[in-house]
């Protein structure tokens, strides 16, 4: 699939940053594609609006740094409130999945 379900992009970004520390946009997008093991081919540019939104909500913060190819770029990392939000969202997803599983397994 190449369309990300609405709202799940935020969760993926948070999870990625939680696990891997400061990353820039390319790094985050690459990592998400990796984890999806090829089943996801997103338009990488779409993470930037998501990153801005997450930053406005205070769940991630950015710092200027230099990328591997010596370009100036922003590096994002998760904040404490971001971690809390990640836990909440993870919970929510798991509950939703459990409920859907039960629903779809009904005869």
């Amino acid at each position: 699939m190449d369309e990300v379900p609405y709202g799940s992009l935020d969760l993926m970004i948070l999870k990625t940053l939680d696990g891997l520390g400061p990353l820039h946009g390319y790094g985050i997008a690459r990592r998400i594609e990796q984890v999806a093991e090829g089943s996801l081919a997103l338009n990488q540019g779409t993470i930037y609006p998501a990153l801005l939104r997450l930053e406005q909500k205070g769940w991630i913060k950015s710092e200027w740094g230099t990328s591997e190819n010596n370009r100036r770029a922003r590096f994002y990392s998760i904040t404490r409130t971001g971690k809390k939000q990640l836990a909440v969202e993870t919970d929510l997803w798991q509950q939703t999945m459990a409920m859907m599983k039960r629903l779809l397994e009904q005869p």
Binding site: G25, Q44, T46, G58
Partner: protein, 923 residues
């Protein structure tokens, strides 16, 4: 969202430039990394770049999404719209100028009138805690009056509990002083007499020196100190700080200057600003005409106004009630010696039943307010109506402009712009016009306000009002601009929303809506109605003014000079010898003036338009004898006539017709037979069928005097232009039975009025240079000052009525022209098919007639409703006619029809000149 989030949003919104650059950096880094990845896999640089772009997805759409999240798009859009609007407006200067001018005039006029209302009626006094200031008043026979005598003030001041009282001289006893430093005549300055605690009570702090205090108010005539106002200090002493300690000669007495009041302080009378303040103990020194009112008060001279400051936890009525017995006791004491009136009516008239009340004085006290308040509100309605008419024109102009840009807007809509974005552009353009017009209006209002005040000040002491901008006035201007903008912008904006795309792009006229121009015509109907109402109002006010100032006599009012002459002690004719002294003084003055070349005649009387008789007439019995007045058997008929004291040549100087004979010098001597002259009104009542000359009439009062009528004068309204004609009994000065000896000098000139005025001033000064000198004015100026309110209403309502009419004509012309242009194809076809050109013209004229008649039909019931609702206020402003006066309505309608015809003539001509070949070919 949380505050931190909001703050972050604001920050990013505020710096879109930086944010864009950051995003660019990020994107560039990302794309390069992607491309590097592909290069590692074996693609060429160029292929890698393209592959990276594919992986990334659309950059621009992503950036748009990014900007949406950032949230500053609205801000950018508005900024861009503002720039576009500015450019577009600059490109059509005629349109912009017309709109801005209309708005500036309308908003400026509204703001000016509002400022006057605010300054006159709503502003709090610039003193400490104005809300708790009260004016002590009495209710006598149902009417609220103010003013007390000095003993009453003293008694009340002692007795008051729960508050404090201070006093100052009332404007009914104006204090005019001559301040002389060198020889010569200066225009009189105004003064106010204040009690020792006046400034303390008001909480006024001096800007220089000190103010009058309780220690300056102990012993009569022992505290010759004076406090200057800021205005006088600026005018006379150029704000020199050395003024403190210098001496000022006021009406011949020396006073030491002790300080200056702050610039914003003007006392408590709104519209008057005293130049100097003196302590109450110095009253006799500065009021030489009236004499000493502290030591020898008169019960009629209620010259002290009382201000009260009540303690916070006490109610005004609690403080007022205990003062009534104190007041009554003081009244009894001052009337001691006179027989106690037994009739209840008489008791009330003398004040025994007065109730003491406190009236809020937070906005000051003002005679000016009573005089002008209603007129100003009516003026506000008038300029508001004109503004509405102007807004309609602007709306139509914007509509036409929007119509011309229909193809462009339709294209934008077709390309995907939201209707809101397109409408926003129209709104922004309207807002720019509104803001510029409002700002221009504010500037115009500044000048208009000053002009209005100057106009209203002709022929009297200049009106002093604080018209500095305050929050209320600015809020009014902003609100008015906003409302106007909304009014004239919403119609074109709504038009945008309902545009039929395809038809618009092809610039084809949809059959029906646009061509009929219904909203445009409806608006013009509204304009016509408002115009008609304005014209009727203007007509009513013009005729009122004409009725009031109609010259009954032939006197060339510009050639008669008028000046008050009030020598020392002239208000106390009761003092033995005063009458004779005054008579000698006056006679010498008149003789000197009669010798001046250019003077046709000179005389004196004791009333003038600016100083009318109070109207309390004395009962006169027609017939002689000592029979009692109320005895029906005697055949004597009592009438009430006002008495005027005059000198010979009075009627000749004023140009009043006289039959019989005038008074002569012989009539003034001590043993002459008492004679009188009466006016036609007197004759109409007392001698309806007989010849009055030679008859005798007797005045009431003690002692009874019998006069022989030697002359009958024409009715004259100079004494009081507002009141209907009263019966008048004229007597020579020495035989007049009045305690007031102040007179008014009249001088009739042959033409050189200005030069002779200077000479008159000199001679009056020589007669008594120690008393205040009054301005020399012409009779015309005096009458103008009396009818200033009517003049103001007449002039302004006419100007704005004409302006409204012009705007309506423009609006009508605009709509009709547009109609012709829109229907040019239809007209061309008609003409080509053989319709007579007259028929085409008739069509245009018919459209115009429909609009005008509809407007008139709407206006008539509206006008009737308005007059019904406001009849109370209107009747006080009109004279000699009622609001539903037929002649005025007919005249206004005629003017409207004529102007409408002129407005329609141009489009009609254009319609008749349509050349079918040209019109049908152009597409």
């Amino acid at each position: 969202m949380s505050r931190g989030e909001w703050w972050k949003r604001m920050v990013t919104r505020a710096s879109p430039g930086a944010s864009e650059r950051n995003l660019d950096d990020d994107v560039r880094a990302h794309l390069e990394l992607l491309a590097a990845e592909h290069v590692r896999r074996g693609l060429t640089t160029e292929e890698a770049r393209l592959a990276a772009l594919r992986d990334f997805g659309g950059v621009e759409p992503m950036k748009e999404a990014y900007r949406d999240v950032r949230g500053s798009r609205w801000f950018e859009h508005v900024t861009r719209d503002l720039v576009y609007a500015g450019r577009a407006l600059r490109k059509s200067p005629g349109f912009t100028l017309a709109v801005v001018l209309t708005l500036a005039l309308g908003i400026g006029a509204n703001t000016a009138v509002f400022t006057l209302i605010d300054a006159l009626s709503w502003r709090s006094l610039p003193i400490r805690d104005p809300e708790s200031l009260q004016l002590v008043s009495r209710i006598r026979l149902g009417r609220t009056e103010t003013g007390f005598t000095y003993p009453q003030f003293q008694a009340l001041r002692e007795a008051v509990r729960g508050g404090e009282l201070a006093g100052y001289s009332s404007s009914a006893f104006p204090l005019m002083l001559t301040a002389t430093v060198t020889d010569g005549v200066e225009p009189p300055i105004s003064g106010q007499i204040v009690s020792g605690n006046y400034f303390n009570l008001l909480g006024v702090v001096p800007q220089l020196g000190r103010l009058i205090g309780p220690d300056d108010d102990r012993v009569p005539n022992a505290h010759p100190v004076v406090v200057l106002s800021d205005g006088y200090w600026r005018r006379r002493f150029a704000r020199a700080s050395s003024v403190v300690g210098s001496t000022l000669l006021l009406s011949g007495a020396r006073f030491d200057v002790i300080g200056v009041t702050p610039p914003e302080f003007f006392g408590v009378d709104v519209g008057l600003a005293p130049d100097v303040y003196v302590p109450m103990m110095m009253q006799a020194a500065v009021m030489p005409v009236v004499g000493d009112l502290l030591v020898k008060p008169s019960v009629n001279r209620t010259w002290v106004q009382l201000l009260a400051r009540i303690d916070a936890d006490v109610g005004p009525s609690q403080v007022a009630a205990p003062l009534e017995p104190v007041y009554r006791e003081s009244l009894t004491r001052s009337l001691a010696g006179a027989p106690l009136p037994s009739l209840p009516n008489m008791r009330a008239r003398f004040g025994y039943d007065d109730k003491i009340v406190f009236v809020s004085a937070a906005t000051g006290i003002s005679d000016l307010r009573l005089q002008f308040s209603t007129s100003l509100f009516i003026l506000l309605a008038i300029v508001g109506a004109v503004l509405l008419v102007g807004c309609v024109n602007i709306a139509n102009l914007l509509l036409v402009r929007a119509a011309a840009r229909r193809p462009e807007m339709a294209l934008r809509l077709a390309l995907g712009a939201s209707r809101w974005r397109v409408m926003q552009q129209v709104l922004v353009e309207g807002a720019v016009l509104g803001a510029v017009g409002g700002a221009a209006g504010l500037v115009l209002a500044y000048w208009l306000t000053r002009g209005l005040i100057a106009y209203a000040s002709t022929g009297r002491t200049p009106i002093a009002l604080d018209i500095s901008p305050d929050a209320r006035m600015l809020a009014f201007t902003v609100m008015t601009s906003l409302v106007c903008t909304l009014l004239f912008v919403c119609i074109p904006a709504l038009r945008v929303v309902r545009v039929d795309l395809l038809a618009a792009i092809k610039n084809v006229n949809a059959a029906g809506t646009f061509a009929r121009m219904r909203p445009g015509k409806l608006l013009v109907v509204a304009q016509v109605s408002l115009s008609l109402l304005l014209l009727v109002a203007a007509g009513l006010f013009i005729r009122t003014l004409a009725n009031l100032t109609r010259a009954d006599q032939d006197a060339a009012r510009d050639h008669v000079l008028v000046v008050r002459v009030e020598p020392r002690g002239s208000n106390q004719r009761g003092v033995p010898g005063t009458s004779e002294r005054l008579d000698r003084l006056y006679t010498e003055l008149m003789t000197r003036l009669r010798g001046v070349p250019g003077v046709r005649s000179a005389s004196m009387g004791n009333v003038s338009p600016g100083k009318p008789e109070s109207g309390a007439g004395s009962a006169i019995v027609v017939g002689g004898g000592t029979v009692r007045m109320d005895d029906p058997r005697s055949g004597n008929r009592p009438i009430t006539a006002s008495g005027q004291a005059i000198y010979p040549d009075y009627f000749k100087t004023l140009g009043i017709g006289l039959r019989g004979r005038d008074f002569s010098d012989a009539d003034q001597s001590a043993n002459a037979e008492p004679v009188c002259i009466v006016n036609e009104a007197f004759v109409r009542i007392a001698y309806p069928n007989e010849e009055p000359l030679g008859k005798i009439c007797t005045t009431s009062g003690v002692p009874r005097r019998a006069f022989t009528i030697v002359g009958v004068a024409d009715d004259s309204r100079y004494a009081n232009p507002r009141a209907p004609v009263q019966p008048v009994l004229y007597t020579p000065f020495l035989q007049a039975n009045t305690g007031r000896g102040q007179m008014i000098l009249y001088v009739r000139t042959d033409g050189e009025t200005a030069a002779i005025a200077a000479r008159v001033r000199d001679e009056v000064w020589k007669a008594d240079s120690t008393v205040p000198q009054f301005e020399v004015r012409t009779l015309a100026e005096e009458i103008d000052a009396v009818v200033v309110r009517e003049r103001l209403l007449a002039t302004l309502s006419t100007s704005f009525g004409v302006l409204g009419l012009i705007l309506t004509a423009i609006g009508l012309h605009g709509v009709l022209s547009f109609l012709v242009v829109q229907r040019v194809r239809e007209l061309a076809i008609r003409i080509a098919l053989g319709a007579p050109r007259v028929g085409v013209v008739a069509m245009v004229v018919r459209e115009a007639a429909v609009v005008v008649s509809a407007g008139a039909l709407v206006a008539v019931p509206l006008g009737l409703a308005i007059t019904r609702l406001s009849s109370r206020w209107l009747s006080e402003l009109l004279y000699g006619l009622t609001p539903d006066d037929g002649l005025t309505l007919a005249g206004a309608s005629l003017a409207l029809v004529v102007v409408g015809a002129i407005a329609a003539s141009l489009p009609a001509r254009r319609a008749s000149a349509v050349d079918p070949m040209v019109a049908l070919r152009a597409e």
